[in-house]
């Protein structure tokens, strides 16, 4: 088992309220952060410098997502809109109207011509990004939708919600193809396809992260040890040859598990509040993390185990 030795490298301050989401750009050069202070901030991922602040939403922001060419960033807000920001111009390129309640999560498809979003109106919406039009509204869940995403080839959409269900949809037709549910039906707070889209990684509010094989509807790995009973905390795959899973926790720590053995290989301490936002770098052993309002700093951690 290869260990990790993540050490804090940068502490970035700028947000004035809870930080809700962190995402590295696809080329790994930038880090985007969003928060309850209605702002999106862009940081240099390798120096920690602040590059830009994007203002425009009238309520707090819950999630951000990069287009795969890194040219656009989308943000989901409690003002019921999604905004698309042009990175080249640093301005708002489009506002997507349609959700009837808070927009909570969103993601681009691999071609980045389509965006999927979910929110407190319990729908999953599919958008034509270039024209700013809604293509489909899926009456997906019976509680707020907490996470949505595309498979690597863009043919499947996965969504999960506070109703405890994980659903897999055909992106083209909008048909539901599969539903995964755990015996105890815990609230689902985050879902993500594995890099090859054969599995989905699901965080639930019974302090458990599960890796599901959705073809066989079987949970193949369980990761536990952290605390997660109240908030929607994401879990991430590593982007490097080190295979580990990272998640935040309500005990203010970050937990890292070995993908295969499911053992905790490192616990990162430093934040002074619940870790709400977390991201792994697409190609290097770097983690970005941020927490709720008692601690408004973003931390960037570098792996110094020397194996790379």
């Amino acid at each position: 088992m290869s260990g990790t030795n993540f050490k804090p490298k940068y502490i970035l301050s700028g947000h004035s309220k809870s930080i809700s989401s962190l995402k590295f750009s696809p080329d790994g050069s930038l880090l985007a952060s969003s928060g309850a202070d209605k702002l999106v901030k862009l940081w240099d991922a390798h120096t920690g410098e602040i590059l830009r602040t994007l203002e425009g939403h009238t309520e707090g922001i819950s999630d951000v997502a990069w287009s795969s060419d890194g040219e656009f960033l989308a943000s989901a807000s409690d003002d019921k809109t999604i905004k698309i920001w042009s990175m080249e111009l640093g301005t708002e390129a489009k506002t997507l109207l349609g959700h009837t309640n808070f927009v909570f999560c969103l993601n681009y498809n691999p071609h980045s011509n389509i965006l999927v979003s979910g929110g407190f109106d319990e729908t999953v919406r599919v958008w034509d990004v270039a024209r700013g039009k809604s293509l489909k509204v899926l009456p997906a869940h019976s509680d707020p939708v907490t996470s949505v995403g595309f498979s690597h080839d863009g043919t499947l959409i996965v969504s999960c919600a506070m109703d405890g269900l994980i659903r897999i949809w055909d992106a083209d037709s909008g048909q539901c193809l599969k539903t995964l549910v755990d015996d105890d039906n815990p609230i689902c707070s985050h879902v993500k396809f594995s890099p090859n889209s054969r599995f989905v990684l699901v965080s639930t509010q019974d302090s458990t992260i599960r890796l599901w094989n959705y073809h066989t509807s079987r949970c193949v790995k369980t990761y536990t040890g952290h605390t997660n009973r109240t908030y929607c905390i994401p879990a991430c795959f590593s982007g490097t040859k080190h295979k580990y899973i990272v998640s935040g926790s309500e005990d203010n720590k970050i937990y890292i598990w070995d993908l295969q053995t499911r053992k905790i290989i490192q616990v990162l301490e430093g934040h002074r509040d619940v870790i709400l936002a977390l991201a792994t770098h697409p190609s290097e052993d770097i983690i970005a993390s941020a927490s709720m309002e008692k601690d408004l700093n973003i931390r960037i951690w570098y792996n110094e185990s020397g194996e790379t």
Binding site: A130, R131, T179, R198, F199, S217, T222, F237, K243
Partner: protein, 439 residues
């Protein structure tokens, strides 16, 4: 990725219903090799590129001043070729970072261009058919830069030695040969590399003037459309290497199947094979209806079904490169996208639920309601979780037909075409251009 969940076992069937229509004002519409886009040629000289995922026009290729007569895609869809009645062939580069896209090359011809196409392996080799009945092979590569007319050799014994006008010109799927159909109903086969004629076929029983060709992806089968209102399928013979002294194969071809409408005797506008070559779709030239005839080639060419697309007459059709989908264009310029819908499976909405085709008498298993030691269950579960998972390896889908014959280096014709390759590499991306118009 979605195929397994939708229908794990089914092969490609033929489409049955219209999924959507695009108001494209075009005279024809053609899928790109990936099936993500559709290219539409318009009467006003513009060609539009549509994204089938968003069903919106994403690029307008504005360069011709008269009707666009044909459109072709390079193998990875980066380059688009348009031909027009304005005597030009234009090659467009969709990877260009600006909108409208730039012309990559313009080929000026000596007459209105009836159709043009890219060589399947190299978009720098272009085949053009002129409305005057001549065919040119235009090579834009630096080392081979040329424009050669493909001429049927004189054999003297024909009346006055007059050659018949060429009415169709297509590369075969390997690009090794150019197939040309003539007004008098013969099929001429030229070597793409040497530009020499390697074969001349007469169609057994005569067929009238040839109007169109389509190849099954393997290149082994050819279907022709001709003025006698019949589609004919032929097995493509093996051709010898071009003979240096100019002799060629002269044979009569016997069709394996003839497809026609025995009742209405309608002519055909176009025909297209399904990606696996198991189906053939024919677009009827009916002035009042939009009808597509489907024949089941795997079942000895039996007529399978007619698709009725409403009152706008059909002008063109094209089968999707990998799916059970057809794009048919109406005379009014709309493009109908046909598909075969998957029935909604309501069982998918419930977790751990399985649909069965027939009722099954349920038999309780011996240990089904035994109360197991929880600790024991957990231990077994944890044991099962020891198994390694592979989250990275992408399993390629096998059902997608391969488009290109792989060159193993020893084939002279393929090696020649691969020299000085174009920049049409897989994995290029078309930039998303934000529509400026506010909602």
């Amino acid at each position: 990725m979605n195929e397994f969940l939708i229908s794990p076992f089914s092969a490609i069937t033929h489409p049955t219903t219209v999924q959507t229509s695009l108001y494209a004002y075009g005279s024809f519409a053609k899928f790109d090799p990936s099936g993500r886009y559709i290219g539409v040629g318009r009467f006003d000289g513009v060609a539009s590129i549509w994204d089938l995922e968003t069903r919106a026009a994403i690029r307008f290729l504005d360069g011709h001043v008269k009707t666009v007569t044909s459109l072709d895609w390079s193998r990875n869809s980066r380059y688009v070729l348009t031909s027009s009645k304005d005597w030009n062939v234009i090659v467009w580069d969709l990877a260009a970072l600006w909108d409208p896209p730039q012309r990559y090359a313009t080929i000026r011809c000596d007459a209105p261009v009836s159709s043009a196409s890219f060589h399947p392996r190299n978009s720098q080799i272009v085949l053009a058919l002129l409305s005057t009945g001549e065919v040119y092979l235009i090579d834009l590569r630096k080392t081979y830069r040329s424009r050669v007319e493909l001429v049927e050799p004189d054999d003297g014994d024909e009346e006055g030695g007059r050659r018949s006008a060429m009415t169709v010109a297509r590369f075969d799927p390997s690009g090794k040969h150019v197939f040309i159909g003539t007004h008098s109903g013969s099929i001429l086969v030229f070597s793409t590399r040497t530009k020499a004629m390697v074969a001349r076929h007469r169609i057994a029983g005569g067929a009238g003037s040839l109007k169109g060709f389509d190849f099954a992806k393997s290149g082994r089968r050819l279907v022709t459309n001709s003025s006698d209102r019949t589609l004919r399928q032929f097995i493509v013979p093996q051709y010898p290497h071009p003979d240096p002294d100019g002799s060629f194969l002269e044979t009569e071809l016997e069709p394996t199947h003839r497809f026609s409408d025995p009742i209405n005797k309608t002519a055909w506008h176009t025909m297209s094979y399904s990606p696996d070559g198991e189906w053939l779709a024919g677009g009827a030239a009916d002035p009042a209806t939009h009808k597509i005839y489907i024949w089941d080639i795997s079942n000895d060419g039996q007529f399978a079904s007619t698709l009725d697309g409403g009152r706008e007459p059909l002008a063109y059709l094209h089968w999707h490169p990998s799916k059970s989908s057809i794009a048919s264009t109406t005379k009014q310029g709309n493009v109908l996208i046909w598909h075969s819908p998957n029935p909604e499976r309501w069982g998918a909405f419930a977790g751990g639920f399985e649909e069965v085709d027939e009722n099954v008498e349920y038999e309780e298993k011996e240990d089904e309601f035994d109360i197991e030691d929880e600790e024991e269950t957990l231990k077994r579960k944890m044991k099962a979780e020891e198994e390694e998972v592979d989250i990275d390896t992408v399993i390629e889908e096998t059902s997608r037909p391969q488009n290109l014959i792989v060159s193993n280096g020893d084939d002279e014709d393929l090696a020649w075409a691969d020299e000085d390759p174009d920049e049409d590499a897989a994995g290029w991306t078309m930039k998303i251009i934000m529509d400026d118009e506010e909602m």
